[in-house]
Symmetry: C2
Subunit: 348 residues, 2 copies
């Protein structure tokens, strides 16, 4: 098996820097758009293990990526809690039911994530079979705080005013909600690992909108609980955990202290400085601005080279974008990107 | 005159921490909405010195703020360049003409900001008269990079893909544009100072979407040119310059090195750590999350106290929000906020 990705996460030496892309199975690929059409809605695609497997495999047929990532959505857990997830075409996710009061939190049903989200584990198992050991498979979940923002706002938001108001006016109910979500995420990731996920990533898309103390108390704390929970459940260290807080560059030391194996960086953080700050504690994943993929090939190549040079020699780097690839990117530019990581990381 | 604000910016001792709010003259105030209606469009209000003066004064009649800020828009300069600024109701700013090619940059007309933006200086002079020395008046401008993003995108953007594509594919044309804008901003702020502005703030709303090297080269560099330009034009050190890059918390040291007098902090940066990082070089302005104003009074008071405590004793702090106040805030909550800054900063 190509285990560069897993080795890099564990800070073991590799022959070249492994690379994958957040949202690599996505709308920039015409074959994805075709399968999506066949499936019906985006959610239909997530809930169909066969088609979810198909779109997971698509980017690997085109590009020499060092990891596959389960095709799914970060909002499967709130959906399992009965919030009624749906997507409006061209809009973001929406929920039919929202949480607006402490009573709404208290009346959240008891739900077995193992039972309710079996379509996800079926997809994981199927993808592992299809991958046949070619590259490792990454499972994932949204972070408790990120899930909570959607559950309270009822969808995406510009300033997360309702979620923040809930946090500040009802801190106990917020902790209750986040505790429920942390338990659900732990169960969910455990089940993904049992089904075959070889690494897991927690997407904390909205941790970066908080103040430093609120981030530690309401987002990081619960991610740490998940990391510890997975260890207590006997999930081996050979299944690394990656924490990714977008706009979390100022809090790297604290993130690295959770016991996770790797920290995702968006593009606003200097990776050289980041490496010095976290020391030997964790590997780093990132950190190219996805917008660079809209630039000319020589610009893409120069930026890949800069980031590899900034990280410097030695193990512990997984190359990635600092956020998901966007739908308008030319698939040819992705080929340039992957090729550049291979070329420049072998040379150095 | 109440000169707490100016003294704090120059790191001189004050009897209590001065406070003002970004967008303090704004839609959360019913009297603002009434004047806005009377004026016609938002832009009509900006271009009417008498009414611009009126809305500048409104928050000072309600609250004991330590500074007034000129009511205007950051996009007056692109408008003066003939881009045709307008506002769609409920949407952000838009331009009739956009910059999409290097040729568009080269054909940008020669414009005297002193002549073209005389309505701004008229408002400044009128506000100074009306203030009658009560508190100092802040002038402002958008940063060259922030202005460029709007001029290229033709309005706001989610990922600034077109502006970044221009930057990466046409770096020379981008530098030409930013140089033109830096000259325009220098002339604009000079004229505001001559008309009576006693401090100036540069709003770099979108510097934080760049990679660290792109931020230094395309945003910070041009703000530094403005700081140096104002000094060369003999603008005295008694007219402090505040630089505010939203999401710029990772680059504070570099911002403080520009020669500016103060650095604005959004709410994601720990102000205690920020103070240690910039040392005696600059004052700090900020850094309460504007969303806190939606919380209960006791939460607002606790957060004010936390930030004051985190900054610690000694001069050099101007209390502010980490971004503009939003339209839905209850004006009573602003009173609680201002009162808390007074109370807790006097006590410590």
């Amino acid at each position: 098996m190509n285990d560069r990705f897993l080795r890099a996460l564990l800070k073991q030496p590799v022959d070249r820097t492994p690379v994958w892309m957040m949202r690599q199975a996505g709308r920039y690929l015409p074959e994805y758009r075709a399968t999506r059409k066949q499936a019906g809605s985006f959610l239909d695609l997530c809930k169909n293990p066969e088609l979810a497997c198909e779109v997971t495999m698509q980017p690997l047929r085109r590009y020499d990526f060092d990891a596959a990532i389960l095709f799914s959505d970060i909002l499967t857990i709130p959906d399992a809690f009965g919030q009624g997830l749906y997507f409006e075409e061209g809009e973001g996710p929406r929920f039919r039911k929202v949480i607006r009061t402490p009573a709404d939190v208290e009346s959240l049903p008891e739900v077995s994530m193992t039972r309710e989200l079996s379509y996800v584990y079926a997809a994981v198992a199927r993808i592992r079979e299809e991958l046949a050991g070619k590259v490792p498979l990454i499972g994932f979940s949204g972070s408790p705080w990120t899930l909570a923002t959607y559950m309270i706002e009822g969808g995406g938001s510009k300033d997360f005013r309702i979620a923040k108001q809930f946090l500040y006016n009802h801190p106990e109910a917020m902790h209750l909600l986040l505790g429920r979500l942390a338990d659900a995420v732990t169960e969910y990731l455990s089940a993904q690992i049992e089904a075959g996920a070889q690494a897991v990533q927690i997407f904390d898309t909205w941790g970066g909108i908080l103040t430093p103390p609120a981030y530690r108390e309401y987002s990081l704390h619960y991610m740490q609980r998940i990391v510890e929970g997975l260890k207590q459940e006997g999930k081996p260290d050979s299944v690394p955990v990656i924490l990714f807080t977008k706009n979390g560059g100022q809090w790297l030391e604290a993130i690295a202290d959770t016991g996770c194996h790797a920290v995702g960086l968006d593009w606003t953080t200097d990776i050289q400085g980041a490496r010095a700050r976290v020391g030997d504690k964790v590997a780093l994943q990132g950190n190219m601005d996805p917008s660079i993929l809209y630039a000319q090939p020589e610009v893409i190549r120069a930026e890949v080279q800069r980031i590899l040079r900034d990280y410097g020699p030695g193990p512990g780097h997984v190359f990635n974008l600092g956020h998901g690839i966007t739908p308008g990117v030319d698939p040819e530019h992705v080929a340039v990107f992957v090729q550049a990581v291979h070329e420049f990381s072998t040379a150095e």
